[in-house]
Amino acid sequence: MIELPTARLSDTWFGDKSAGELCYSDTTRARLDPSAVENLYFKAVTPVTIKNQSHRQLLLDRINVPVPMLQLFRMPAADKSFVTTSITVTLSETVEETRIQLGSAQEHRDAELISPARKPQKKQFLYRAIDLFLS
């Protein structure tokens, strides 16, 4: 499989002005109902679950998706849609207790693995990404 960039996305910055991470930015429809997601043959869907276990209200403005750490699968259904590893964020009262988890290898058991993750999951990154994940 070859990878061809079809569009140049705009750069964006996650973190404060002295330290952070360079990312690509794009708008998303972020459907709450999975059935409403359009299955376009050139797009991959990343399921994101956000559990707010804190008492404060969460304003979700943007999400940092660690794309290089996600695997790409093709679903066996007739539409042959693409799906990636899922992301689960559990937001607790403190940043220390907040967790980001990437889905396990078994989550899309019936699907065909198209591409493994480009980078291995780094626990260090995931912890660092917690305060960057939600803004």
Binding site: S10, D11, W13, S18, G20, L22
Partner: protein, 296 residues
């Protein structure tokens, strides 16, 4: 009977000098070897900046140790030498105040770590890449490939900007718009330009500040962010795109108008009036008027 006792006093001195020279030569080689070995330490163990400092420290310590041994071989007593060195230091201190000041400033520059080797810094009018940070001076290579040596005392005394300290940079573009322009419209055009430029970061968001009413324009500061690697590309592309977008949206960037005054003693300027009088058109001659006024 020892070897030295067989020799004449003159030959003895020669042997000692030869030993001292040999010691210094060996010392030089050993210092170089140890210094080079220390440079092989991996970057994740010690930073490149500290690695160079360590290499220099090892080199000079080893060399000084061999020098002391060589002097001892020549018959100098270390205690007397240190005493002489003390007196000499005071004398040198007076004689070489600038060097001593640079040396002490160098220690502060090294310990402060405001910048490291490879950083781009700006000291006064000089901007360039740091090649080395030594005890007496900092060496830079400017963008036009000129080697610049800046004394450490200057570094300590003056304002030093480390351009590559942080990963992202802001570019402030000040642009003037005509008074008749709708400011909200201009603001939207600028934001659209920032959104469409992939090098311009979406976050931190572009900032628009109205700077005030100037003589012939309303000045707007358009502050946009990019990574420091893309800064120059963004700076160039953004100015071009803002001009193009303003032209397309019919927003005028006003510029100061000049009035041409030839002075009372000058000859009148020939001015051709178009559509003024039929007579002038028929005659097709320029109508001469006195100079000393302008038409805009």
């Amino acid at each position: 009977m020892e070897f030295e006792t067989l020799l004449t006093p003159g030959a003895n001195v020669l042997v000692n000098v030869a030993r001292a020279v040999l010691l210094m030569s060996v010392g030089w080689v050993v210092a170089q070897l140890l210094s080079r070995l220390s440079r092989r330490i991996k970057d994740n163990v010690i930073s490149p900046h500290h690695k160079i400092l360590l290499a220099k420290a090892i080199f000079w310590i080893v060399l000084v140790l061999f020098l002391v041994t060589a002097l001892h071989q020549l018959g100098f007593k270390l205690g007397v030498l240190l005493g002489t060195a003390g007196v000499l230091t005071v004398a040198l201190g007076f004689a070489a105040q600038t060097s001593a000041s640079n040396l002490i400033s160098g220690l502060f520059v090294l310990s402060e770590e405001s910048f490291k080797i490879g950083d781009i810094i700006s000291v006064g009018p000089t901007t360039g890449e740091v090649l080395s940070i030594d005890l007496l001076s900092v060496k830079l290579r400017t963008y036009d490939n000129i080697y610049v040596r800046i004394p450490n005392e200057t570094i300590i005394k003056s304002e030093v900007k480390t351009i590559t300290k942080f990963p992202i940079r802001r570019f402030d573009l000040v642009v003037g718009i005509a008074y008749r322009t709708n400011i909200e419209h201009a603001r939207q055009v600028l934001l659209d330009v920032a959104r469409d430029n992939p090098l311009c970061l979406d976050e931190p968001e572009p900032l628009i500040i109205l700077q005030g009413f100037n003589a012939s324009s309303i000045d707007i500061m358009f502050a946009i962010w990019s990574t420091r690697e893309n800064f120059l590309a963004l700076r160039n592309s953004m100015q071009e795109e803002v001009k193009t977008a303003f032209d397309r949206a019919g927003i005028e960037i006003p510029f100061p108008h000049m009035t041409f005054y030839t002075g009372a003693d000058c000859a009148p300027l020939p001015i051709k009036l178009v559509g003024d009088t039929e007579q002038a058109q028929q005659q097709d001659k320029p109508v001469e008027r006195n100079a000393g006024f302008s038409e805009q």
